[in-house]
Subunit: 687 residues, 2 copies
């Protein structure tokens, strides 16, 4: 098979991997792919019965590659392939690579969506195609029957067949299968499909984790992001990569505490607190598994692999680890590396042999969710200086490119989520999410979640009739404060200009400070000086963290910004920049990547090389602990100003008219972080 | 460390391994041993605190090795070593190899009994010294404290320390430890002892399976032989190799069926039969674990490894596998290779991370117990043609030497265990076990289990007063029939000579045949013609199997015979040979190795190289299925005669006067195996 290529061999290029090689005429396309290390799915092992190894010939002259690829450079459809196409149907242009042989130079496309026995689902525009190389593989084999002259056990003959046909040199077996091998082999009349888990070329041996009689042609995995607030799950075909169903639910740990720090406190104060929270999250995950399985119309027992991500506290609680150490310096993770376990270890109701993988955590406050976002957005795969920001109650920040990555977390506190804001609320129907203020009259208009109408448009009152206007959510807060700044209501130091009370009835005196009346009526919604302060503190913390990382990288500017998480999906990048949450950047290079953590989890589920990639990347990431960096305080103080005391925002200024500098009296800026004790900050940052 | 040796390096020879090498002056003896691959136990990793790495200098001139080894060729006792000796005491002549350095040429003895914190127990004469290289190793390490600048998790820093100090490149961890690493590290103030399981240099990664704060200097394993009748267990120190406690119990499966075939039938007839028998044996094993732990005064949680052996049906039932397939051709084992699992998979109450290893089975009726006996007796390690016979209700036979091994089982049936014998019984107090018959008077004398007096000695009646004389056990049957043959009562065809009834009142007519009155009284014990037939059938089956293997090996004679199992320990080899159970052999080369299966299990427990050795050996053994061999019938027919119709017993004849050939009428020999149906035989052989 591996004879040195001769001049009569044909050149074959596989796309999208770009791997190429020369092969003798008559080599099957599947063999050629394997020799080059191109992953082409196959369950039946070349018997033309599973239909998983589909490829397409790209016709044309590919000058760059010096290949003229033609349809007649591949063998005509043979009997076995024709039988498959007749029985199961093969999309036009598709060939089975186990049957088609090389007859000339070829460019071969390996489609990543070879869906079998299911309607081809139109791809969601946002759904990424992920090259497959899953840790769990289905392998059909025909096993020798028992022979009294060579009394090898049934399992041993199964292993021999897997070794012979699939090249597994060293196979272990899950204990629960010991008692099942014999009846399954007989039920399948010596033909069975084994699920092999092989997640590490170096260490762990390949293991048989499940077994079915006959040909088993579908297997699934779940990718799950356990957020403090929300748990999101995808059910994915391990063979086609297709997302079969998705579901989300509130994290039931909320009943033990809204934010992370209160959950850690609950563990510290209650003897069974950790157990109760672990049980709660695992039960909810189990419920979601039932839900996606029902939606996808599949059996839970067909789920063979699972990938989980979450922030460090969610990560620990899900694994059953006490998170108390994460509540105080030195914020020691119990485990930072990737975790490999069995799904049953976490009491999940999947196939008894199903595996579980958790991405590595980056640091004590930068979790496996941030690692998943990094894997998804891939700063390490490109040259631009990319900033990734995941804004929760604690912001996780990654900055870098191919040559170097740095990461930190910033204690933003919950203000961005509407907490600590007088009229703040969670993002839910009825919450104000968009705000505009007339630069002259200072009159506002707004939109609430659940309606697309602005408050000054006809029909608005009816449209929000059922929900009412209940408060203001995180993105609304950002916009209203940015608009207040742009319309001159607040100064660059964040002080509400009381002199404007003469000009507008919306500026209200409240003791020594002023507030802005966003909405009169029931409820009355005002933005107070304290609200502005809370947002200033939060954004200053975020920006200071980012600035620190930029300093580590020695850059004054970033090339691209990715906002991860739900918050990032709703805020307008322009306003975020006006407030100076994020550094100056071309606006079109700022984007929200809402479910990036989920995408990263799916990548790790579908391709074990992505697991190695993120493990290696996380090892390389330089971790910066903001609490230990003296410069953080300095950046923080400058970042209290709007957008910033020192840093210019030239690219923003080209698109938005920033107001002239306006400095007012008052205590703005004075309440910098120096005043707060170290303990207070530590407590804040955990929330 | 590995610089090429120079002429100024010193020559060091390690015994008993015989490995040697040259090392620079000042190298610690432990380092030298490791570089040569000599296993020297060490828990503390060279800190002179565990005391496990003891060695002795052999003084003298070793001409063969060209070494003059002197006490002053090793460094004097240093401060750390002196502190250890003072605190824990070090036997005279012993040194700690982690502290002692090479100062000249040395012959070093690595004692295999470095007992620490315990009285040195005088070795049982029969207890074999087993070179240690256990699959579970204790490793003490000092772990870096958490560092916010390098936020590696606690587990990750533990792994790094184990990698740095102990050279483990790729470490996995048992899931149940994830939540324990953090509190244990803190309890031990960053010094912990990890138990590492590493059972395969090729495949499986090393894994952390248990963890303790501080220095943990003792760990145990159990070696267990699950017989159809009896379960025997040893509790062994993994660090010193010492047997700490032993215990045995009846196999509670007896209540489901006395013999193997009736247990298989029980499984086939009862829906929960398999589960009930699995539960029964595991519960009894658990009870034995409690017993040996209590006797040894140790905590069950300190037991970290376990090795089990048993015949194929016991093996399957213990693992929870339905043994039905073993009840009929082709007698397919569910698994024949070695089984690696966790002890908790079998619901054993050891440390939660404890491992379990089962030796491979040789064939459908030649089990892991026979493999253990093979490992213990080591025919594959020597040149003599060695025959190993394990006589149960089914005889397992292995024959061979270094160059070739063959194995088979023979359907002896239960006659050797006293079943199918009119007055037969199990070996228990009150059973006749020794018999002599006066060649002239034909009067017998006998001994019973529980007394050392012969029945014609004074005080016999009192001595057996409590038990009485209840029947005759397997070894008694062998002796009485051999004595009947030697005194001319039965012919070489096994017919009781009725004409002797005139000479002795002990010969009794019973219908068309005769019997021999062994004991008058209550109960009356006679040996009937049917009893003789039953033994003839059993011994003919055994001998035919052995003869078949000799034929495969192309030998007419064997050099040594090992009788394994309880039966083998009680029978007199002379009588066994007189009856022709075993082939002619020098009597002093025939020995009973009662607990050889237990010894083999201990070897696999203490040295993982022995696991590889027996796995490799079992793969090499040629399996002979007697049922498929036409020559078996022929050998069987000849073996019905006493000792044999064809085969001469010249070496036996030199020591015993065999009676002249005497052929009587009757049906002896006619009831050969040809008459019995294949099914009947299949059923017999499973019992």
């Amino acid at each position: 098979m591996n004879a040195p290529p001769t001049i009569t061999d044909h050149l074959v290029l596989f796309m999208p991997s770009g791997k190429r090689g020369r092969f003798p005429k008559g080599t099957t396309v599947l063999d050629a792919a394997r020799q080059l290390g191109v992953y082409v799915e196959s369950v039946c092992g070349g018997r033309a019965t599973c239909g998983r190894c589909q490829i397409e010939v790209q016709e044309g002259h590919f000058a760059k590659h010096k290949i003229s690829s033609r349809a007649d450079h591949i063998s005509p459809v043979g009997a076995k392939e024709a039988r498959y196409a007749e029985k199961r149907s093969l999309p036009a242009g598709r060939r089975l690579s186990c049957s088609a042989t090389i007859q000339g130079d070829l460019v071969i496309d390996v489609p990543q969506d070879a869906v079998v026995n299911a309607q081809v689902v139109r791809k969601d525009a946002g759904e990424r195609l992920i090259e497959r190389y899953p840790a769990v593989q289905l392998c059909y084999v025909e096993v020798d029957e028992p022979d009294m002259h060579k009394p090898l056990g049934d399992l041993d003959r199964l292993k021999a067949a897997l070794s012979r046909e699939w090249g597994f040199a060293h196979l272990e077996v899950d204990t629960h299968l010991l008692a099942l091998v014999q009846p399954i082999l007989r039920e399948g009349r010596w033909a069975v499909t084994a699920a092999i888990h092989h997640d590490d070329d170096a260490g762990d041996a390949a293991r048989i984790i499940a077994l079915w009689p006959g040909l088993k042609n579908e297997a699934y995995g779940i990718a799950c992001d356990i957020g403090s607030t929300t748990i999101a799950m995808h059910l994915v075909s391990l063979l086609s990569g297709r997302v079969v169903a998705s579901a989300g639910a509130s994290n039931p740990q909320i009943r033990f505490g809204e934010d992370l720090m209160s959950r850690v406190s609950y563990v510290m104060m209650n003897p069974d607190g950790r157990q109760a929270m672990t049980r709660a999250v695992r039960q909810e995950v189990t419920r979601l598994i039932d839900k996606v399985a029902a939606e996808g119309g599949i059996d839970r027992a067909d789920i063979l692999d699972s990938v989980f991500v979450g922030n460090p506290i969610m990560h620990h609680l899900f694994l059953g680890i006490d998170p108390t150490e994460l509540g105080g310096a030195p914020f020691a993770l119990a485990v930072s590396g990737a975790v490999k376990a069995r799904a049953s270890d976490m009491r999940l109701n999947l196939n008894p042999g199903a595996r579980l993988y958790m991405l590595p955590c980056i640091a004590g406050h930068v979790g496996a969710d941030a690692a998943a976002v990094t894997l998804s957005e891939g700063p390490h795969r490109q040259d631009e200086m990319m900033l990734i920001v995941d804004v929760g109650t604690n912001a996780e920040i990654v900055l870098g490119n191919r040559s170097r990555l740095v990461a930190a977390s910033s204690p933003t506190g919950p203000a961005f989520e509407g907490a600590e804001i007088s009229c703040g609320q969670r993002a839910a129907p009825g919450a104000i999410e968009r705000v505009r203020i007339d630069r002259e009259t200072l009159e506002p208009r707004f939109r609430v979640i659940g309606s697309t109408l602005w408050s000054d448009e006809p029909g608005f009152a009816e449209a929000v009739g059922t929900t009412g206007v209940t408060g203001i959510c995180g993105s609304g807060i950002i916009e209203v404060i940015a608009e207040m700044y742009l319309s001159g209501i607040i100064s660059e130091d964040g002080v509400i200009d009381g002199t404007l009370a003469q000009k507008s009835p919306r500026i209200l005196a409240e003791g020594r400070t002023y507030s802005y009346l966003l909405r009169d009526g029931e409820p009355r919604i005002t933005i107070t000086q304290n609200d502005v302060r809370a947002i200033q503190l939060a954004k200053a913390a975020l920006y200071a963290g980012i600035r620190l990382l930029m300093e580590k990288q020695g850059v004054e500017t970033v090339d691209a910004i990715r906002f991860a998480g739900a918050f990032g999906s709703f805020i307008d990048p322009t306003y975020a920049m006006v407030l100076g949450l994020i550094p100056d950047c071309e606006l079109e290079k700022v984007s929200a990547v809402g479910n990036a953590a989920g995408t990263g989890a799916r990548m790790a589920l579908l391709n074990r090389n992505h697991r190695r990639e993120i493990e290696e990347t996380v090892r390389r990431i330089e971790k910066v602990e903001t609490a230990l960096e003296p410069r953080f305080q300095e950046h923080f103080v400058h970042a209290m100003a709007l957008p910033n005391k020192l840093d210019p925002f030239p690219r923003l200024a080209r698109q938005i008219t920033l107001p002239p500098r306006k400095v007012l009296g008052g205590d703005a800026g004075a309440e910098g972080p120096r005043r707060r004790s170290r303990e207070e900050r530590a407590a804040r940052r955990r929330r």
